[in-house]
């Protein structure tokens, strides 16, 4: 019973990794300009989140006991 569960778990885990690998391969088939374009979108998103975090940081409460 336990062996069966372990085996199922191994299969499930392996299929996840295979899935990720296939997805990565599909992605690599894109042209360079497409990949860069997606990467630039990601960078814009990163900048937006970074800006939000910076604002949050600057606005966070006045330092207590100062």
């Amino acid at each position: 019973m336990l062996k069966e569960q372990v085996k199922r778990c191994e299969v499930s885990s392996a299929s996840t990794w295979v899935g990720a690998s296939v997805s990565q391969q599909n992605r690599n088939k894109k042209s360079l300009s497409q990949v860069i374009s997606e990467a630039q979108e990601m960078l814009s998103e990163a900048k937006r989140i970074g800006k939000k975090l910076n604002r949050e940081q600057d606005q966070e409460g006045i330092v207590i006991l100062r």
Binding site: L43, L53, V63
Partner: protein, 394 residues
């Protein structure tokens, strides 16, 4: 005896509930004595207004206990005040409650950016035909942007770590300096040495540009503001206040065996980081002056030049420098600096900060390596830690 006295005077004992209870009893006891022996105490007190002194054992005992009580209470108050000051200082120095939350978010962003950078490089490397120059240019722009975004995370983490140390108006900046090692390559071309000589004029003793190769192990330099940012701008933009600069460094004999080296000391900050491969903090321009005063040099011009540079450098009053290492080799230096002295509580929090920055430093090193590989594809002989940035300098 001395040990027993110091135990009784220690914070652990004096501020303990037992000791505080005994002090309370002592106060009541002294009050009771004052009440019971008031005539004797009054008679003995005539001394204060010049009458005949009447010695009284009871009054003397009372005043002895009174003084002892005052000493005990003073000591207890002093210890309480000291403990409170220490607690407040810890609170000041501690990062804010949301620090870890922001740290995690910033790291997740950096990690995603690194994956995108690596994906772009993989796509370039596995492309069936040679990528066109426009795409390569876009790739370089993207990777530089990702590095600046990570620099922005780093500079804000340092700022948050340092938030109770000076106030919100302080401006933090960050840059990534490149390195050229002279000992491992042939003599760099003239135009690159000219560039280094021009921008390191205040920091070298070599009269001619061509002497630099002979006199030093290499240079750590900032070519432009492509990999810089500041908290002055909301976005991770290039820092427009940055000017090109180059510092010479001399490696230890085991790392550079050439006998021609002049063996001057290395300036604190980036040059020291390249030599020691460890992070370094400059707390103030005075720390630099003290450092160079130990150098065995006869040229006053050099000392004065360095002093003048640091005294006038209003943007960088204290600096944190961290090595970027790849396979035990320093390939660049990350500098985070501010326009006020004593960054990171005069260095007290530096070690904690280095640990916090470590994953970001590792990511930014990987991004730099990817950038280098893409730049090589563009036809620019750009190699980190090599002397081939010449085309960029020319």
């Amino acid at each position: 005896m001395k040990d027993k006295l110091s135990t009784l005077c220690s914070a652990e004992f004096l501020l303990s509930p037992l000791a505080q209870g005994l002090v309370g009893v002592f106060i009541v006891m002294v009050g009771a004595l004052a009440s019971l022996w008031s005539p004797e105490i009054l008679n003995a007190s005539h001394f204060f207004w010049g009458d005949n002194v009447v010695f009284s054992i009871k009054a003397t005992t009372f005043w002895f206990f009174m003084i002892l009580l005052a000493v005990i209470l003073s000591r207890a108050s002093y210890l309480k005040a000291r403990n409170l000051a220490y607690t407040i200082s810890l609170l000041h120095r501690a990062p804010t409650s949301d620090f870890l939350d922001r740290f995690a978010k910033r790291y997740l962003i950096t990690n995603k950016l690194l994956k995108e950078v690596q994906n772009v490089l993989d796509t370039i490397s596995t492309a069936e035909s040679e990528p066109n120059s426009e795409d390569l240019k876009d790739a370089v722009e993207f990777i530089s942007g990702a590095i600046r975004s990570t620099l922005d995370s780093i500079v804000h983490l340092v700022k948050e770590f340092d938030r109770a140390n000076g106030g919100k108006s302080i401006i933090y900046r960050a840059n990534l300096m490149q390195i050229v090692y002279f000992n491992e390559s042939s003599q760099p071309p003239k135009q690159f040495l000219d560039w280094l000589h021009f921008f390191s004029e205040k920091f070298t003793q070599s009269p001619q540009a061509s002497d630099l190769y002979r006199d030093y192990s290499g240079f750590v330099y900032l070519f432009d503001n492509a990999l810089t940012t500041t908290t002055e701008t909301e976005d991770p933009d290039k820092d427009i206040a940055i000017r090109p600069i180059a510092f010479p460094f001399t490696l230890s004999v085991s790392d550079d065996t050439r006998t021609s080296l002049r063996g001057f000391g290395n300036l604190p900050g980036a040059p020291t980081v390249v030599e020691t491969k460890n992070p370094h903090v400059i707390l103030s321009p005075n720390a630099v002056f003290e450092h160079i005063s130990k150098w065995n040099i006869t040229s006053n011009d050099l000392v004065e030049g360095i002093k003048q540079y640091y005294a006038n450098h209003k943007l960088a009053r204290s600096i944190l420098s961290v090595p970027l290492q790849l396979d035990q080799r320093v390939i660049g230096v990350l500098n985070v600096y501010r326009n006020k002295e004593d960054i990171l509580f005069a260095g007290d929090k530096a070690d904690d900060c280095f640990n916090v920055l470590a994953p970001f430093v590792a990511s930014i090193t990987d991004m730099l390596v990817c950038l280098e590989k893409v730049l090589v594809r563009t036809g620019r002989d750009f190699t980190l830690g090599d002397n081939s940035h010449v085309k960029r300098a020319s």
